[in-house]
Amino acid sequence: MPFARFSLVAVIALLVGGCASNSPVLGGKNISYGDTKAVELVTNEFGSTDLQMIAETMTRSLAQSGILQGRPVVQVYDVKNKTSEYIDTREITTSIKTQLMKSGTARFASDNTDLQSQVDQLKLQNQSGLYKKSTVSKTGNMVAAKYRLEGSISSIVKRSSDVKDVFYKFSLQLIDVESGLAEWMDEKEIRKTTER
């Protein structure tokens, strides 16, 4: 009988242990962290899932195409937003750049947004006379891009009394800077429909 009592106590202790209120959470009854990869269907405007799907599809298609042999230097341009809504297209480019970088298939030249800081830093090092000669990065050694990556996103929106349909088309192309030839191109289509 003492064994039975002991077992009962052990089981209860186990159960209680699982529910102990020693959680590392402070406040926030209505707040929670969600899955960043979840399919987001809050409204049918451009959303996180669209951004993730576009970046994923484009990067993988480009990486696997075989065009990027020997890790060429690529310059990324902003994606043109031809839709009727505001989209931070810089984030699409950043995601594509990050994922290509992680896949190890390309290197990236300073693009239009960070070129100014790069030039400023080079000028500061070489012209100010502030730095020790042996540590100064020399001018004239920046690597030029072999390819440029350019894209655009456009949308078709249709509304009736009970349906709103949005169709997005994202296209991306890789252009050889020297020849001006488009060497690779792909597009991703997304349809989102809301029925009232």
């Binding site: 009988m1 979840a38 992680k102 896949s103 190890g104």
Partner: protein
């Protein structure tokens, strides 16, 4: 009494770990991790190839019912050791019309990926 209690405890432990028999390793079924039941969905043949250094997968997914079905899926890319080699993918939504077979295609994000799992969830 002691034996009874012991056997009850053992049973409780076992119930928590009970699973159906595992599919044969290397088979198409072993590549699918379903979150919940996959009623009216059948996972057909898969084609795996390495193209330009990246693992490429094509998998057939059939709707066995006559009504349309929406499901969510994503691929997980694994290395030689069976652990993921890349960040988690975003979930994708797929609509299958009644009795339709659709082919999912996916490309691994990194050349290191040597194996994969398809996570499927019906709403």
């Amino acid at each position: 009494m002691r034996i009874k209690i012991l056997s009850l405890m053992a049973l409780a432990l076992l119930v928590g770990c009970a699973t159906t028999p595992a599919p044969a390793p290397g088979s198409a079924a072993s590549k699918v991790a379903s979150l919940g039941s996959l009623k009216h969905t059948e996972i057909g043949p898969m084609r795996v190839a390495r193209e330009n250094g990246f693992l490429t997968v094509k998998a057939a997914l059939s709707n066995t019912s006559s009504s349309n079905q929406t499901l969510y899926y994503r691929f997980a890319w694994l290395g030689n050791d069976g652990f993921p080699v890349a960040d988690e993918e975003s979930w994708k939504s797929l609509t299958l019309y009644g009795a339709q077979t659709s082919y999912l295609t996916a490309i691994a994000p990194v050349p290191k990926a040597t194996d994969f799992r398809i996570e499927v969830k019906t709403p």
